[in-house]
Symmetry: C2
């Protein structure tokens, strides 16, 4: 078996033992009443987390699959879209929309920034033809949070469809689908919902659903019309990842028992306590407006983040995440979405601190 580390990566995150336990329950057959009950239970629970009355469709796929289902069910060839991106995962919307032949109006901001709502408003007024706004709640490549409440208000007022990738933030950062006028939300099992990866979901409101009836892009596995049709029987069109349904149902039960607001608050407190400690080391953070799901630390001049990640991994069996692509070595990312406690965060901090001090000392010696 491969070596194991405690994951402080920004997804997947650590999965508690009680989740593994329900995943070991014998499978139910997906065309059978027992599955329909499970399906309905997860469905009702996820709505409460999303603060929505809209239907939510479950896809046996990772988060990118849910994102593709948003694009392929909404965007027809040569339609125009605005993409409000603030990092690697925002750019994924871009790549997806290109594949489906959309004309892209790219409203990107530099790494670490969030798209200012007033910029979005300005862009929508200039770009009459763009029908959709694709964006990201929590950008895990930089740790930035974006203002979905403001985006929702602007999109509704300007009669655009707002599609939010909430994969990394959902359950950690505040999100109120209906109250905030969000038309489509994508999420997945392996982030703040502390399940293994492999199950994702998409919530769709009536405005977005109407458009989906006329979309001409080819799709089958991700065709939400089929999901809607089967949902009436408590089923999915294709064989679902049944054990992950067990897992997600259990995780959501826990979250709802605590209360969604309290879970958000827990994430905020953990994030702030970690950042307070890191600040005392004189460290600064990548995002201007940080998410509560992860902390992204800028490496001071001469400090290579890759070495810190490596020391934590080999010496302490703790896995932080490096920066992606051009951010490699320049930042260290600590994920704390999901089932983490204060003592977990303290442990992560102390391991980070030791590794950081070690790397810093070596720099001084040279």
């Amino acid at each position: 078996m491969p070596k194991k580390y405690t994951l402080f990566t920004p997804g997947p995150t650590e999965v508690p033992d009680y989740i593994y336990q329900v995943m070991s329950e014998p499978l139910v057959y997906h065309r059978e009443q027992a599955f329909a009950e499970l399906f309905d239970s997860v469905g009702e629970r996820i709505k409460k987390l999303l603060k929505t009355k809209n239907p939510v469709y479950f896809l046996t796929a990772s988060g990118t699959g849910a994102m593709e289902s948003a694009v392929s069910n909404l965007v027809s060839y040569r339609e125009r879209v605005v993409i409000a991106a603030c990092g690697k995962f925002g750019q994924r919307w871009n790549e997806l929309c290109i594949r489906y032949g959309a004309y892209i109006d790219d409203l990107s901001v530099p790494y670490g920034k969030s798209v200012p709502p007033e910029e979005l408003e300005r862009r929508l007024r200039t770009d009459d033809a763009a029908r959709y706004v694709f964006t990201t709640l929590t950008e895990t490549s930089t740790g930035a949070l974006q203002d979905m409440k403001a985006f929702g208000e602007i999109c509704r007022r300007n009669n655009r469809i707002l599609i939010v990738d909430a994969v990394a933030g959902l359950g950690a950062d505040k999100l109120k689908m209906d109250e905030w006028n969000i038309d489509v939300v994508c999420g997945a099992s392996q982030k703040a919902l502390f399940c293994p990866p492999g199950l994702s979901f998409i919530a769709v409101n009536e405005r977005a659903w109407e458009i989906m009836q006329k979309t001409r892009s080819p799709r089958y596995y991700f065709d939400l019309k089929l999901y809607k049709q089967f949902a009436e029987k408590g089923q999915t069109p294709w064989t679902p990842a049944i054990s992950l349904f067990f897992a997600l149902d259990c995780a959501l039960e826990r979250i709802l028992k605590t209360g969604v607001e309290k879970v958000w608050e827990k994430h905020r407190l953990l994030a702030e306590s970690l950042r307070a400690k890191l600040s005392k080391l004189g460290l600064e953070f990548m995002p201007e407006k940080p998410s509560n799901a992860l902390t992204v630390i800028k490496m001071p001049e001469g400090i290579n983040g890759t070495q810190i990640v490596e020391i934590a991994k080999t010496k302490k069996k703790i896995l932080f995440a490096n920066g992606q692509a051009e951010m490699r070595g320049k930042i260290v990312r600590i994920g704390h979405m999901g089932a983490f406690s204060r003592s977990d965060i303290n442990r992560a901090f102390s391991v980070f601190k030791d590794a950081y001090t070690q790397v810093k000392k070596k720099r001084k010696v040279r």
Copy 2:
């Protein structure tokens, strides 16, 4: 928790405890060396099962996802395809190809039949324009097996690309990808590989890969070029269903330890022993050429299969599968692909027999 039954459904099948156990191993991070080792191990093992030297790409999706990846990576708008279908799952190729704008030459046979190889040859000679043949190894809606060796020989000789849905048959029915000249094979975790559903895979040979470079159909989540690129690092482009990788690696290790040929032989012996017993009850079977993965029993006049399924379920907690759509009530399907033993099969038979006798008696009384 929902009520649980022993699954004699034609997928998902019963998952042994040791598989659940490895699924409970803490997750590894998918951008990390430990995952790459797992990835390489599963990759090498699946090739041995498929009897191929070709690369195999793993998709976090159920079998239909692997089928869509075959279609969207091969077929461009307005290309012509032959579909050699013998049931519901063969028709899925049809639906998929329609979505991607293909012109379809439908070579279907009635339920219970398999497409005769000579029919395929005749069709290919008539239809010069069709570049691809999509077909099914094991048709779970009817229990029919198709002759992939002959199909492969015909397609290679006529210079066509052969794409085989082996989801239900792989590991139960004989399949030799390279020796039999099969260009693309799709498979999934939840059938004869006795893992939970949620992970599928697609093997692609050089001939098919060349075509995929030029395909114009939109795709992203299922774009095999991205999978190839990431496979070089021992990774998948999107967060994979990590726990199912653990499961599949373990299942394949077991299968290979026994030996692929012996596992096929085990399935053949179990299937034949079950059918011998059923024949003694005077029962007949749906498929002319039956697969070793499942047994599909025709219901005699006046016997409603739905009642048999219902009795087995409520009285014995055993789940058989009913016929789909217009076959409902007219057949009963018993899945025996995967980790079944002779005593499991005997149990299935005895439960079936009791239920069948009960329903038959009631018929006589009326």
